[in-house]
Assembly symmetry: C2
Homo-oligomer: 302 residues x 2
């Protein structure tokens, strides 16, 4: 069993040019739920002027179908976002800290050190409130401004996040430059820095390394993987690039490896067509183009 | 060190709609050589009426620049093709045997057993002539007609090929349905069935599993990997699908893992633009779209 966090509604849509309305978002989330998604990063609580596509976060959370065993995650960057998230009724908080100062400066005019302190504050408050809290270390595999990122910077954030009470540490390849050797090194280091804390990994397929990274993360015991329906999301630093690893391609791969994700491929497949229509281009996931393979390990599911 | 066999001129172009002329093929091969390619599957010697794009195989081989340490591979299916290959001056022969009867029937109106016997004949003749000979087991990871393929069928072909004198056994994921667990199983089984014989693997990224398979093959000691400049080649059984794993994406991935391939990424990158122009669509390789990452492990090459 490997947990999959559906991040299409948040990281996916946040990096698309098209602004989907609340109806479309709720429909997409409902389809993901129907396909078996149990953790959904549905919204981010960030400045609406900076990220207009997430301005309806509260409205989305008001309308998503809630049920036991399904957890909605809200991404936040600071205590103000955290309070909005709580008021909106999210089930989990995901706080992001960039591992590189170049990215922290460009994105939030800050530093890794300052944003780590902010994350500690959010995590402490959320933990006191009994909320499951993840700290995601962004640009953990490389930074568009600083280049290579010293893994020690990632581990230092993980250690402080764990001490503050984070229940999960995610390593994120924000710009899609990671490779499997880094996955091993970062997962091992995070486990040492934050013993007993769950791990999660977030990959983009910008340069065709995302699925190799996902398989390596699974083999090295990661608790959960992020993926995005249709593989949407692009890369803000590479205009023609593909986005997050695609949920349907990841699930098909894991299915054939005998790894249960709780997700149903047949229910996932139609989402890409809907997305392509909404976004106005053919989304990057490959399975909807090539067709699922009707081999034994797949037909055994039905 | 991991050997890369450039199969763009053969498997790539053979599955593209555009028919490139001999000039274009020789130019592409020359660029691959300039980027450091040392084994190039340049042509196939098959029936010109069945595969018109390979009808100029002799003309291509007459014009490619030859130099010590560079090996040109010709794909053949039978003794007639083998004799054409020898007459054309190839350095190595690659004989293909489908592991599934459905594919053998559809492609050559034959059976795996009959084509294994044909391959033995070619291998014996080539070995007697001192030519390095590979037997490629096609549809080793799944068949578009028969579905799942019993690995025992792959191992039986490998064993007979090795006895006949094959110097290398390749496992090919002809339709891009393979996953890393299969890579391990097939590589281990082939090594047992053909001890001491070199291994090679051929992956398509049809369903986004190609690079994960390539990394797994490397980790499990494969001798060489096939890849295609630009990731061209499509899939004859999935009209919208991507093709072979792309040489430039594979090399970038391996570079950052610290694996030397002898190939120079900066020299490879411009090939995709030329190919996109020649073929009339944007080729599937992602690195030319996203841009190379200027991190330390890459800049250390220059």
């Amino acid at each position: 069993m490997l947990g999959i966090v559906e991040v299409g509604p948040r990281d996916g849509l946040q990096n698309e040019r098209a602004l989907l309305d609340t109806d479309a978002k709720v429909e997409l989330i409902s389809l993901a739920l129907a396909a078996g998604a149990r953790r959904i990063e549905a919204v981010s609580f960030v400045r609406p002027d900076a990220v207009p596509v997430m301005a309806d976060a509260e409205a989305v959370m008001e309308r998503v179908p809630r049920s036991p065993g399904v957890s909605f995650i809200g991404l936040v960057l600071n205590p103000r976002g955290y309070r909005r998230a709580v008021a909106a009724g999210i089930d989990e908080v995901n706080v992001v800290v960039p591992a590189s100062d170049g990215f922290a400066k460009a994105n939030q005019n800050s530093t890794t050190a300052a944003l780590t302190a902010v994350a500690e504050e959010v995590v402490a408050e959320a933990s006191a409130a009994g909320l499951f809290t993840t700290v995601t270390v962004a640009t953990a595999f490389g930074c568009p401004f600083d280049g290579e990122v010293d893994p020690a910077r990632v581990f230092a954030i993980a250690e402080r996040a764990a001490r503050a009470g984070a229940r999960e540490i995610a390593v994120a390849d924000t710009i899609g430059v990671g490779v499997p050797t880094q996955v091993r090194e970062l997962l091992e280091g995070v486990r040492s820095a934050a013993p007993g804390v769950a791990t999660r990994a977030h990959f983009h397929n910008t340069r065709n390394t995302g699925y190799a990274n996902a398989v390596t993360a699974y083999e090295w015991g990661v608790g959960s993987l992020d993926s995005s329906f249709g593989g949407i999301g692009g890369c803000p630093f590479a205009p023609n690039a593909t986005g997050n690893i695609a949920t349907e391609d990841l699930v098909a791969l894991l299915d054939r490896m005998g790894v249960d994700t709780g997700l149903d491929l047949d229910a996932l497949l139609p989402i890409a067509d809907l997305l392509s229509g909404l976004l106005g281009y053919r989304v990057p996931a490959l399975l909807p183009r090539a067709g699922a393979f009707g081999g034994a390990s797949r037909t055994s599911r039905t």
